[in-house]
Amino acid sequence: MDWQDFLSVLPFIIVAGWATILLLVDLWIPANRKGITAGLAVLGLIAAIAAVISRFGIEREAFDGMIIVDGFSSFLQLLFLGVGVIAIAQAYDYLRRRDIERGEYYILLLYSLSGMLLMASAGDLIVVFLAVELLSIPLYVLAAFAIPKADSEESALKYFLLGAFASGFLVYGIALVFGSTGTTALSGMVAAIESAETTPILLLVGSGMILVGLGFKVAAVPFHMWTPDVYQGAPTSVTSFMAVGAKAGGFAALLRIFISALPGAAVMWMPLTMWIAALTMAWGNIAAISQTNIKRMLAYSSIAHAGYIFMALPAAATPEVAPEAVRAALFYLVTYAITNLGAWGVVLAMEKAEGSGLEIEDYSGLGKKRPALALAMALFMLSLTGIPPTVGFMGKFYLFQVVIDANLIWLALVGVVTSLISAYYYLRVIVVMYMRDGEPEVRSEALLNSTIFITAFGTFFFGILPGFLLKMINQVSLLDLFR
């Protein structure tokens, strides 16, 4: 062990350490100037971004394989940190408006982010478990941030109980995999499965339970029941961060564990993941149709998108397609993050101080009153549906192509058909915005507007010129653990 090891986890150390320092600094910042805490938190994130960029392209294992640094982890860490910066910018004015501004918000957000960063470079199931918890526990508190409002209470309680329940499955699954392969190190698991020194039944049940635990975190059907209630009840700025960050974190773990550590057991998990993907796409999109509340609608939409990303897993069971599948999943995660942060940003702009203004009907007349905002929302809706010229189209195109390459044509077909279904409820928002008359009450806050502008620009720019992103992703690969 040497100092290089500490450099490998430098972004994590910066974010987690900075959060702890801020926790103390915040005590002496007066209650009406919590903007200082937000600014300091962003500074910490920028330092972490610099740390990630400085070691881009390096591949190594640190702390005896506990930590893996590769293109996959660096790319995801950049994504997480970017999401963090936008989440803080979105939260600042919203918290003041709802009168729940407290410095702890930004600190908890940093802690949750540090969990995501750790997740991206986890090389051992111990680290995976710690990262999942570090990611989730601050989110439970964030969901409860608007207490004593009843919605927030309910959201937090449900998220907490089901999240902890899922952790139980995750831990037990890890225990069984440990019993089967005799190690918790991902590289050791690859070797153990390769040399057939495992107990297959324990491995099957164990990896199934890990799938259940992480399936809860990414809200895949049939483990999605909590999603609409939690997303609706939590303060919207928290939902925005939760929908993007927690989901990407869960997928980071899923991809790493199943594709790079358990490829030898692909026969076992391939059919499972295939069915989960198909069910999630179908149910998420069908249930979204009947929603009248925009937060619930976007919640079901996020379930459906979890299904699309999930398709990368069964596709990756075919070894030749696996690297492409990982890249397609990453590309889709970026797509999802940009578009969803933008859409939630518009929801934030429409929400009134006491928490109303969240029905889709409330959006009528937005096209006349705030043309730019409506245009951005229309762009996000098109991107979520997967219609060109938006980044959502590129993401789906890439992903479906990979799935077809893996000879799972029926799965790709399910994806296409459900995308068509989803057009109905996404386009309805556009219809309401432009074709109904109404006098919506909209906020115009500089920080929030700029996040909406940036994400809308990204949605459009990467939609017509995806080359830059693709070039970056093409250099990404999971570190080959079997040597």
Binding site: M1, T20, L23, L24, L27
Partner: protein, 118 residues
């Protein structure tokens, strides 16, 4: 293979039997002359005033929660302390950093006024 378990079964049986015999014997042999004072719940001390199930104030629970967290952290300190003389310098430093983080949490709770018992 089952042989060692016989001892456990015997022990279990004996363990049940001994207190059982004394309780039953007491019940059979003791003279029974009940009166209200004998049947009251408290044999000593004063009787409770008002409801027995009262709600404690919120600060009490927070105090208890903080105790739980700091209590469990000893799980990491113990192996660290046991292997102290075999550790390299940076491992010692890691332990110190861990304690500092705990101290930061304590300082936070202190400043927030949780530790005050009003």
């Amino acid at each position: 293979m089952l042989e060692p378990w016989i001892f456990i079964a015997l022990l279990l049986g004996a363990g049940m039997l001994l207190p059982g015999v004394t309780i039953v014997a007491n019940w059979l042999l003791a003279p029974k002359k009940p009166n209200p004072i004998k049947q009251s719940i408290y044999e000593c001390g004063i009787e409770t005033v008002g409801e027995t199930y009262i709600q404690l104030k919120g600060g009490y629970y927070i105090y208890a929660l903080i105790f739980v967290v700091f209590d469990i952290e000893a799980v990491f300190m113990f192996p660290w302390a046991v292997a102290f003389d075999k550790l390299q310098l940076y491992m010692v430093m890691e332990g110190v950093i861990f304690i500092l983080i705990l101290a930061a949490g304590l300082a936070y709770a202190w400043r927030k006024g949780v530790l005050e018992w009003v």
